[in-house]
């Protein structure tokens, strides 16, 4: 089997992974980025809207443009950063110091990295309802991939489930493409996403039905509609269901961190609702309980691209430092204060609580 070695292996080429790679390479470390897709940028590639966040995190810039900025930053390091596309890291063998990589459907090889940054992003959640397996029930990510990456109209009339930022933004993107959105359903009494996004889709005539959920998808072979129902305070059905015609049901019911490799690597994990799933304990440098593994971005807890980029920078810098490369004085502190600023105030309350519950000061005491 083929095998090669690298100083730092960055798993995942989204905003977190790209930032980690750039930062590590800036100190002189050799970096390999393994990315399952055939392009870098992760979630950013599918985002055609302007991003929130701090100025230094490119607020006001469209997602796919931020991806380009990060790619340009990396290209200045030339051969020091090696990028492997269509390559998924599937196994971790700590005793042998190797990971297994799968290329496409059939080809496998080994990588032996000195240090690893896991920046695998997130996975979409699914909710249970009859017929949720038939064609036409798609994840929000899939709908975005179809329309924003491949330029294919995902359907003619879409029912959106979930009024968080993803549900609202994808609704807006569908409308931009000329697709009708029948309604947005939200089980809770509140719109989870930012108000500006909600206002935009309301102005465009899409009803946002709070305290509503999907009861079943209808259709024999493919989706032809959905039965929807109002919910009471206890999330039980409050009345008769109503039928909505649609050919696509788009699920935007949240993300959960991608963490398989972290479990495999024996990282100490904790279920943290505010970070949307099982996430590893980490120190202030984003290092996990496995001293060879760092984390960054959505894999460390669902947050935003802006935070993912700073976490990536901290992780990349710290991983390089552990190999004897030098971080410029004050750099860690600057990144940490940017992260604190992002998480400040009322909006950051849950993230702060989540992060605090998995933060570790010294590994010796855990």
């Amino acid at each position: 089997m083929r095998e090669f070695s690298t100083d730092i292996l960055v798993i995942g080429g989204g905003p977190a992974g790209l930032s980690a790679a750039a930062e590590a390479a800036s100190t002189g470390a050799g970096v390999t980025i393994a990315e399952s897709e055939r392009r870098l940028g992760g979630q950013l590639v599918k985002q055609s809207h302007k991003f929130f966040g701090g100025k230094e995190e490119h607020a006001g810039t469209r997602g796919y443009e931020i991806a380009k900025i990060l790619k340009d930053e990396i290209s200045q390091y030339g051969d020091r950063v090696r990028t492997m596309f269509n390559t998924t890291i599937v196994g971790y063998y700590g005793d042998e110091g190797i990971v297994t990589a799968m290329v496409g459907e059939e080809d496998y090889f080994h990588i032996s990295p000195k240090k690893i940054v896991v920046a695998c992003g997130a996975q979409e959640r699914l909710i249970p309802f009859p017929n949720n397996d038939i064609p036409g029930v798609y994840g929000a990510g899939a709908v975005q991939t179809l329309m924003n990456v491949y330029g294919i109209v995902p359907g003619r009339r879409v029912l959106m489930v979930g009024a968080g930022n993803i549900g609202l933004i994808v609704t807006y993107q569908l409308l931009q493409t000329g697709v009708e959105v029948a309604a947005i359903l939200e089980a809770t009494p509140r719109i989870g996403g930012y108000w500006v996004h909600a206002a935009k889709v309301r102005r465009m005539g899409v009803p946002i039905l709070l305290r509503h959920s999907i009861k079943r998808a209808t259709g024999d072979q493919v989706v032809t509609g959905a039965d929807i129902v109002e919910l009471d305070e206890n999330f039980s059905e409050a009345g008769l269901s109503e039928h909505v015609e649609c050919d696509t049901i788009c699920l935007a019911v949240g993300l959960t961190p991608t963490n398989e490799l972290l479990w495999q690597a024996g990282c100490r994990m904790r279920y943290t609702p505010y970070l949307c799933g099982h996430v590893p304990l980490r120190d202030a440098s984003m290092r996990t309980s496995n001293e060879n593994i760092w984390i960054a971005g959505d894999s460390s807890g669902i947050e935003e691209a802006s935070a993912a980029m700073i976490e990536g920078r901290i992780a990349g810098l710290s991983a390089a430092e552990s190999l004897g490369y030098k971080a410029p004085p004050g750099k860690f502190d600057r990144y940490r204060s940017r992260l604190r600023n992002l998480r400040a105030g009322e909006v950051g309350e849950k993230i702060r609580a989540g992060v605090a519950s998995v933060a570790v000061a010294e590994w010796g005491n855990v």
Partner: protein, 130 residues
């Protein structure tokens, strides 16, 4: 009755039901520009369709209005794609005779033979020369 005209390449007639799913390519977009690869023919269950080389097989099928990609082993349920990023196995099909190919991450090539997968599919296990 639902009347609809999308900004797509094909004009959609008034349709009574949603069984005929004819979706197509986005022609104008206020923000994004799309560059497609070369248009090539491929077969789907014996029918000749066209798609863009370099885009995944599942996307090419969807653009042709095909939504059912396989039937499950036990319950014979229809399945299409779900995640579109190679993580859920919903989109497995038989491609050039090989079953269980994730069509959402397998790129279309000229002349590819794509078939609906029934159950787990069939693998020829006879070893050459034995």
């Amino acid at each position: 009755m639902y009347d609809c005209r999308l900004k797509t390449g094909r004009f959609l007639l008034r349709l009574k039901s949603f069984e005929v799913v004819s979706v197509n390519l986005i022609e104008e977009h206020p923000v994004l520009d799309f560059s497609h690869g070369e248009k090539v023919p491929f077969s789907f269950d014996g029918r000749i369709l066209e798609g863009f080389e370099g885009a995944p097989v599942a996307m090419a099928l969807h653009a042709n209005g095909v939504r059912v990609y396989r039937r499950t082993q036990e319950m014979k349920r229809p399945r299409g794609f779900f995640c579109a990023i190679g993580k859920c196995s919903s989109c497995l099909m038989v491609v050039d005779g090989v079953p269980n190919v994730r069509t959402c991450v397998t790129l279309l090539k000229r002349g590819m033979k794509v078939e609906t997968q029934i159950g787990r599919g069939h693998v020829n296990l006879s070893v050459e020369g034995s």
